[in-house]
């Protein structure tokens, strides 16, 4: 199993551009999550999904959108990139009754200039 994979690894965007961060898992996780990690701030939950077709906002959803058309994929969309969205983004997955244990992807480092 590849686990949770994310693409791209790095990306530089100009202000106002849009992009999609891809996340795919082959662990049959029902639950999937998007976090952003900023220095000294820990991980903040952006959006999460409890299954295909179901998504919900986390702590910091503004400026982002998600979709979950399949169990495996959970892309994160930035429509109008802003410098405040410069961060490292992590996708994670968890199974039903996994006692909250989450499995993380390797991350995407995004810079908005």
């Amino acid at each position: 199993n590849a686990g949770v994979t994310q693409t791209p690894k790095f990306r530089i965007l100009k202000i106002g551009q849009s992009m999609t961060l891809q996340c795919t898992q082959d662990m049959n996780h029902n639950y999937m999550y998007w976090y952003r990690q900023d220095p000294g701030m820990g991980l903040k939950l952006i959006y999460y999904s409890v299954g295909a077709g179901i998504t919900d906002k986390g702590e910091v959803p503004n400026g982002y959108n998600v979709s979950r058309s399949t169990t495996e994929d959970f892309p994160l969309r930035l429509e109008l990139a802003a410098p405040s969205q410069t961060s490292v983004y992590f996708c994670a997955g968890a199974g039903v009754s996994s006692y909250n244990e989450q499995f993380f992807g390797p991350g995407t480092r995004l810079t908005v200039l």
Binding site: V4, Y31, Y33, G40, M41, G42, L43, L45, Y48, V50, D56, F90, A92, A94, G95, V96, S98, Y99, N100, E101, Q102, F103, F104, G105, P106, G107
Partner: protein
């Protein structure tokens, strides 16, 4: 709502010395507790977890953590650190609202001095 506090943002330690990384949490209900480790330029990996039972839990690489309900703490310890332990360590607590969510602390960067 629950929260996690990691008071030490950076901890420098000499190689082969002991270390303790502190974690305190607040929650009105029973929780599960986790320590994740993030090596440079990598994602987070589970280091150890407390679900129930014995309050002392261990990892395969020599770390241990003790759940202390009265002090609402879950401190991480290792008796002798190695250069390879250089990483950022995150404490996390389960979100009682369900959906397998976690609330993370702000992390502690452990630096091993040769």
């Amino acid at each position: 709502a629950q929260s996690v506090t990691q008071l030490d943002s950076q901890v420098p330690v000499f190689e082969e010395a002991p270390v303790e990384l502190r974690c305190n949490y607040s929650s009105s209900v029973s929780v599960y507790l986790f320590w994740y480790v993030q090596y440079p330029n990598q994602g987070l990996q589970l280091l150890l977890k407390y679900l129930s039972g014995s309050t002392l839990v261990e990892s395969i690489n020599g770390f241990e953590a003790e759940f202390n309900k009265s002090q609402t703490s879950f401190h991480l310890r290792k008796p002798s650190v190695h250069i390879s332990d250089t990483a950022e360590y995150f404490c996390a607590v389960s979100d009682p609202s369900g959906n397998e969510k976690l609330t993370f602390g702000t992390g502690t960067r452990l630096t091993i001095i040769p």
